[in-house]
């Protein structure tokens, strides 16, 4: 065998020669090459023959021998196109079923792809509209906590100035500060006649140099120069003044946290687009805020955001190190404890990246929303692929009907390339028709899609969308058409006419493999849907350690702040209300934190980061947070400010044996532990319950009202009336705590809903394909079935015969799909600190479901085949 092998020229080289050689010369040249090779084999040094052969092949690789790059085409392209279209039309008129299956499959795949494309496109536009986007960075800080870093966007107040003045890489830097200590809370802006709720940002005067928010009125360079300046949104200007122009120079009063300060309107900006993550109604002067707040001027506190414009070509890594060293030095020096060394670090992240890369691990951006973008892009790709596979399978299966057409064309002299172009044209035409259907679908379903995704996507023919659309259609058409085109054009005319067109094993497995692939994807999607649904159910029904039902929250705004006791009394007088209290936080992820706790038995250098919840009297009772021991804060004791409650995790972390009555030091002041609360989830279930302390603080921003069971509508109206008695003219805004909790998992809910649709589609498209294939098989085996029936086969045995093949295919898909989805599920569930366990029945159930769907699809066809009229099938031969 080996000897035989070496008697032939190297196959690869020969193939290379055949590939490049002008077909007119190929035969005799190959013969010459062969002859020389044989002669050298017979010479004294046969081992060198191969090398000489290679040399000859390479020496022939030159102009004059190489085939021409552009084949001579004598065919008129428009005539050919018309011919292709006509053949396509006839082909589908003959089998309208195939046409429908192809159109439905491709159209739904394309519609999904277009939706996902629109969504991804929108995600990528978030925050990217600023003119200096390329150089606009935000400084992030890595704050050391037990076992790693916590990454925050809050920076020491003096950082911006330091960057501006001491870092040559930085062109400019500004601070932007959200309202301190009351995120999400609104203040009240008022003129002599009107008032409105609004949220503000405190910004440095160069704010508009950094961010491209266009001004309706005013000069962006000057509007924020004065310390009493305020720039308001167009919406607010229209609400408070006759027109934006007339607002300029007017004085407004800004009321927030007991303080009312007058400001002069110097500018009006256009309303902030939805594609900005910075959302605000008015801008106030940060320098003036810093003047009044000592903590904005020290390095020991972190409150504002710091944005920086870098000079072009700055080495980011080097800059990060430089800022980190600088920050460590400054922070360590500013803390009075001489032994304290701040080990946190800082880094800059492109501002527009922060939306998609919003999760941090060990102080580095590590994915985030980008994960969903990738996930959906993958799903879109697979859905398109499934739809394309349908087209491929049906086209190749039906090839036998077209074999004669191909044979005749080839005999007349059609080149393979023109046949390929014919089938590609056909595929592109079908894709184009499907795309029209898909675009109509997208138009009609866009509002629903926006509802699910919580976006405001418009489907307009912008250049990006048009290019994307064309790319999707071209990709689909070529993908769907490529395999049939290559396959059909390969037929040899002599075999076709002799009727020897046998279907190779390879082709059989190819088609089988494609169906297996389709069903594998369907299975993975079904399992994903079940899993996401189970996990969300689990989260929603998990015992959180507190009860968030029937709790209405509103903000302590306007006059409520100074008249809160009166407001509380009026509410408590209402019969439908169980209790009223206040809370600084909201148990859905917003909480302060500190490591400024010292306790007896604390190890050297041991620091624990404690969650810091500030509650009013009665909050723990209202939320039904359980105590392990001790008591809660009550008005019966006068000095509750000096007391503290820990949760179990905190007690365990500190290693306290008998916590009640012990004293700990908080920020250098002694506090007595009066109670230990059972662990409850004060963050999302992505996080484990952390150590946490509960402090007493009266009159906080969040007012919690526990309602009695029953219809809340009347109660809410009563609360609204009470609210308006105190705050005339302000909008009454309230939320339910359990809704807020659900909102924590909004993205999971969206994924769950979307994946349900996608899975359903994948199954439908796959089944369409299976349906088509089954119909075709039944048709092709009509004679066999008839003969079997004549010989006495029952309908049942025939159904069994025809379904066996498909059953095996689906079983194979299950075999492949189950391990894949098992791994994927584990990966996804691991991101939750508390999650369901993967149960075998998810996989079995999904597999059974898929099998049932496949059976019922094929069953209709096989049953029809089993009941055919024997004469019809057998009469003509």
């Amino acid at each position: 065998m080996k000897n035989n092998q070496s008697n032939h020229p190297p196959k690869l080289l020969l193939q290379f020669f055949r590939w490049y050689c002008n077909p007119d010369f190929a035969e005799d040249l190959e013969g010459d090459l062969y002859e020389r090779f044989e002669r050298r084999r017979a010479s004294k040094r046969p081992g060198l023959a191969k090398w000489y052969f290679a040399k000859d092949v390479l020496s022939l690789f030159r102009p004059g021998i190489i085939r021409s790059l552009c084949p001579k085409s004598f065919l008129n392209p428009t005539v050919m196109l018309r011919h292709h279209l006509l053949l396509t039309y006839r082909q589908y008129r003959r089998s309208p079923n195939t046409f429908l299956i192809n159109i439905i499959g491709l159209a739904s795949g394309l519609a999904c792809a277009i939706f996902i494309f629109l969504w991804i496109q929108d995600e990528y536009q978030i925050d990217r509209f600023h003119a200096k986007d390329q150089r606009l960075y935000q400084v992030m800080q890595n704050y050391p906590i037990a076992g790693g870093f916590e990454t925050t966007e809050y920076q020491p107040g003096p950082l911006a100035q330091a960057l501006r003045e001491e870092f040559p890489e930085v062109e400019n830097a500004i601070s932007v500060c959200p309202p301190l200590g009351s995120a999400g809370n609104k203040g009240v802006i008022s003129t002599a006649e009107n008032q409105a709720k609004a949220s503000e940002l405190y910004v440095d005067p160069e704010f508009f140099e950094f961010f491209s928010f266009p001004l309706e009125v005013g000069d962006p360079e000057w509007v924020l120069k004065n310390k009493d300046a305020v720039v308001i949104s167009k919406k607010l200007a229209n609400q408070l003044f006759p027109s934006p122009e007339e607002a300029i120079g007017q004085t407004i009063e800004w009321f927030r946290e007991d303080v009312t300060i007058p400001f002069t309107v110097t500018g009006v900006f256009d309303d902030i687009p939805a594609q900005s993550t910075l959302q605000f109604d008015l801008l106030l002067s940060y320098p003036s805020l810093a003047e009044h707040s000592q903590h904005l001027r020290t390095w020991a506190n972190s409150d504002p955001y710091t944005y920086t414009l870098l000079k072009p070509g700055v080495e980011i890594e080097a800059l990060n190190d430089k800022i980190s060293t600088y920050l460590q030095e400054k922070v360590s020096a500013s803390v009075e404890d001489p032994n304290y060394i701040f080990t946190g670090t800082a880094f800059v992240q492109p501002f527009s990246d922060r939306y998609l890369f919003n999760r941090y691990e060990n102080g580095r951006p590590a994915g985030g929303r980008i994960g969903y973008v990738k996930l959906f892009a993958t799903i879109a790709f697979f859905l398109l692929l499934i739809a394309c596979i349908n087209f491929m399978n049906l086209s190749t299966a039906k090839a036998i009907h077209r074999a004669k057409e191909i044979g005749v064309k080839k005999v007349i002299g059609a080149q393979r390339s023109s046949l390929i172009s014919q089938y590609l044209t056909e595929a592109l035409l079908i894709t184009l028709l499907a795309a029209i259907v898909a675009v109509i679908l997208v138009y009609t379903l866009l509002p629903q899609f926006n509802g699910i995704t919580g976006k405001e996507i418009a489907f307009r023919p912008t250049p990006t969308i048009l290019i994307g659309l064309i790319a999707i259609i071209a990709f689909t058409g070529l993908l769907a058409g490529s395999y049939p085109a290559l396959y059909l054009s390969k037929f040899q005319p002599a075999k076709i006419f002799k009727g020897k067109l046998t279907r190779g094993l390879r082709e059989y497995w190819m088609r089988k493999g494609l169906v297996v692939f389709q069903f594998t994807i369907s299975l993975v999607l079904i399992i994903a849907v079940m899993l996401v649904y189970q996990q969300i159910e689990f989260i929603q029904n998990k015992n959180l350690g507190y009860n968030n039902e029937r709790i209405l929250t509103l903000k302590q705004d306007g006059n409520l702040r100074n008249q809160f006791p009166a407001f509380k009394n009026s509410l408590e007088a209402l019969p439908e209300i169980e209790a009223v209290t206040t809370f600084r936080h909201d148990l859905t992820g917003d909480f302060g934190s500190t490591s400024g706790v010292q306790w007896e038995g604390q190890g050297e250098g041991q620091r624990i980061e404690f969650g810091n919840l500030e509650v009013d009297y009665g909050l723990m009772e209202l939320m039904e947070i359980q105590l392990v021991e001790g008591r809660t804060f009550t008005p019966d004791f006068a000095t509750e400010q000096n007391k503290i409650i820990f949760n179990e995790a905190a007690v365990k972390a500190m290693g306290l044996k008998e916590p009640i009555g012990q004293k700990i030091m908080l920020w250098g002041e002694p506090r007595e532990i009066i109670g230990v609360a059972k662990d409850f989830h004060f963050e999302s279930l992505y996080e484990k319950v952390k150590p946490c302390m509960i402090r007493f603080s009266p009159n906080n921003e969040n007012i919690l009202v526990k309602l009695k069971p029953g219809s809340p509508k009347a109660t809410i109206r009563a609360i609204e009336e009470t609210y308006h008695a105190f705050n005339e003219g302000l909008a009454f805004e309230y939320r339910f705590l359990d809704d807020d909790y659900q909102r924590l998992y909004a993205s999971e809910e969206r994924i769950s809903l979307l994946s349900r649709y996608f899975a359903a589609l994948a199954i439908i498209i796959s089944c369409l394909g299976l349906f088509g294939l089954a119909a075709f098989t039944a048709e092709r085996r009509a004679k066999e079935i008839s003969i079997r029936k004549i010989l006495g086969a029952s309908a049942a045995s025939i159904v069994q015969l025809l379904s066996k093949d498909f059953t095996l295919t689906v079983l194979l898909a299950l075999l492949i799909g189950i391990p894949i989805s098992y791994l994927l599920s584990q990966y996804w569930l691991q991101s939750f600190a508390y999650h369901i366990e993967i149960q075998p029945w998810y996989f079995l159930g999904a597999g059974l479901l898929l099998l049932l769907i496949a059976w019922s699809t094929v069953g209709i066809q096989t049953l029809k085949a089993a009941k055919t009229n024997l004469i019809q099938a057998l009469k003509d031969e």
């Binding site: 010369f25 040249l29 062969y34 022939l60 021998i65």
Partner: protein, 125 residues
């Protein structure tokens, strides 16, 4: 009169031929094909050239020249019979066309003319 007529046609011929003036290698290939009358296919030409001229000829350069000469009309070719050797591939036999012959003759005449015009003294005879 007659003499001058012949002379002018000759001149026209030269003018036309000079456009397709034969290169040295082309001339050798044409000559070898002529020598091998009836048996001139790729390998035979290479063998003959290597034997007579004592130089190596690569298959690539020979084949490009053969195809070029055929395209210019100096050579014609046809495929031979199918044989069991050579991997079952046919040979392509080349023959010199009339035009080829003319081109060879012109070249030869030019050379001779040059030889004849050398003054005896030049080579020191």
């Amino acid at each position: 009169m007659a003499f001058s007529f012949i002379k002018t046609t000759f001149k026209i011929n030269i003018a036309r031929m000079s456009k397709h003036r034969l290169g040295e290698f082309e001339e050798l290939v044409l000559l070898t094909v002529a020598v091998l009358y009836g048996e001139a296919y790729g390998i035979a030409i290479i063998d003959e050239m290597e034997r007579r001229l004592d130089r190596t000829v690569s298959i690539g350069s020979l084949q490009t020249v053969l195809r070029r000469l055929e395209k210019k009309g100096y050579l014609a070719s046809e495929l031979g019979e199918v044989t069991k050797v050579r991997g079952g591939k046919r040979k392509r036999f080349f023959t010199v066309t009339n035009l080829g012959r003319k081109a060879l003759e012109i070249t030869k005449d030019q050379r001779l003319d040059l030889w004849n015009s050398i003054p005896n003294i030049a080579f020191g005879d």
